[in-house]
């Protein structure tokens, strides 16, 4: 989907409304910490806005990819800052999925299980799996976001699915 918008506050609020959950989810699935995910997602929206404030031409095609890419970079920054703690240390304490008005306890447990499995994938494969199957981003766009060729991306996605399937089979 292409989004051509002029970055004006009203328009940007609409962008936020549309993508806030997706970007948050993307961040959360990658960093497994709710507060961190919220911070990163907030900074993503701020940064993208600031970036467009500087451009003379305030139109942008495909703001979605841009948001994901920015979030991706911020997460990489976050990874770099962490020298000792592994982000996957979260597996013990479970995930801080907050109950929303629409969620049930059952769902939370299921989310926990799902995350447990997915987090066993290495970062690169986890990332493309999430983007393709959770965020429903096309392989072409994913390629742009992660900065690889379409072919390489498709291969990576397929590998990710294969590995996930074997993890699924290993479930007790």
């Amino acid at each position: 989907m292409k989004h051509k918008i002029k970055v004006v506050q009203e328009e940007y609020e609409k962008v936020y409304d549309e993508f806030a959950d997706a970007i948050f989810r993307y961040c959360y699935l990658k960093v497994s910490d709710r507060e961190k995910a919220k911070d990163i997602m907030q900074d993503t929206f701020i940064k993208v806005w600031v970036y467009f404030e500087n451009k003379n031409n305030k139109e942008i095609t495909n703001i979605r990819a841009f948001l994901y890419k920015t979030a991706s970079n911020l997460i990489i920054d976050e990874y770099r800052r962490k020298t000792t703690t592994s982000l996957n240390d979260m597996t013990d304490k479970g995930y801080d999925v907050v109950s929303n008005d629409h969620k049930t306890v059952h769902d939370n447990a299921e989310i926990n299980m799902a995350m447990n499995i997915v987090n066993q994938l290495d970062d690169k494969h986890k990332e493309v799996f999430i983007m393709r199957y959770v965020e429903d981003i096309s392989p072409k766009e994913i390629a742009k976001i992660i900065g690889r060729t379409e072919n390489a991306t498709s291969v990576r996605i397929n590998t990710a699915v294969k590995r996930l399937r074997s993890l699924i089979n290993e479930q007790k």
């Binding site: 409304d17 806030a20 299980m113 799902a114």
Partner: protein, 369 residues
Amino acid sequence: MDKLKQKDIERALKSVSLTDAEKARIKENVINAKPTKLRNSFMDRLIYVRSILINTKNYKPMPIALALAIFLSGGAAFAAEGSLPGDLLYPVKVGVNERVGEVLAFSTEAKAEFEAKLAEKRIDEVERLTQKGKIKAEVSEELKAKFEARAEKARERLAELEASGQLGASAESNLKFQNKLEARLEALANLADEDEDESDKEELKEWSIKVKNENNKHGLLQLKLEAGLKSGDQEGFENRAKGRLNAAENKINEVTAFIEDRADRTDEEIYAESVAQLEVATELLSEGKVSLEAGAYGEALISLNKAFYTAMEAKNLVKKGKVRGEDNRPDEVDEADEEDADDNEDEENDEESESEANAKAKAKVKISI
């Protein structure tokens, strides 16, 4: 619990979302972090700067002074400073560092100098890219456009300064910028000489033309400002003129020592030329003193500024002549020179001098919150 299938996993993960409250709160944070053209107050600017910094260092709110200190001291921001178009961090240099610098320039004078600095950076980037053999037509064109845009903005700011009666500040900043441009023209010419590639030479030639063009516009502006300095009410320029007297005297002394020191290592012709330049500078200094005595502070300012830069040129002549065993890059006006001038400005309670002193103080961005 049953084993999950892939579809289950996807569904479960898709259901992760923010609560409505969280979503709304973050939205507010985003909106409030966004700067609007109306935000001109000191605190708003710093809050804006902090919002840029928050994501790079710490996810908890940080005291603004600390955030700035971290920002100014290093990390990715600093690494970005030396980057060139095409480098990974170049967008950080332009989109973040320069943006922050722009926000932190409070007074019109500081803004003018900031625009000038950015204009110069673009030339610098072209020079360095050319030296590395990495200059591409599109990149060069883009940089040219940016350079021109910044130079124009600088002139706008200088005009604002002029309009608000700060002729002294405007003339000084303008002259400083001209000096920088002239130094760049030298550098471009040198590069063109050394570079063997024809298309590079062409490119550099075009840049020289562009830079000359802009410099001419500044030259015209300077004439206008000087006319104003001569004819306007002289009282207001007293402090600035006295400050420049100090600066010019110091500069001449410094350059005299410099040249004498290297007399035997310098080519005779060049030595003679630079000495002649120094004499011109000294004459201008005397003229300035005379005007000062006579209370014609605006005129004094013109002569003293010229004396300063003429002395600097004398020094650069010697440097250009490639004194053996030394750093021969041309001098440009730097912070040290500015210090001399400033020390004498903060004294009187003159209207113009007070606002100028405040402007200079703010421009130094000593954040002590």
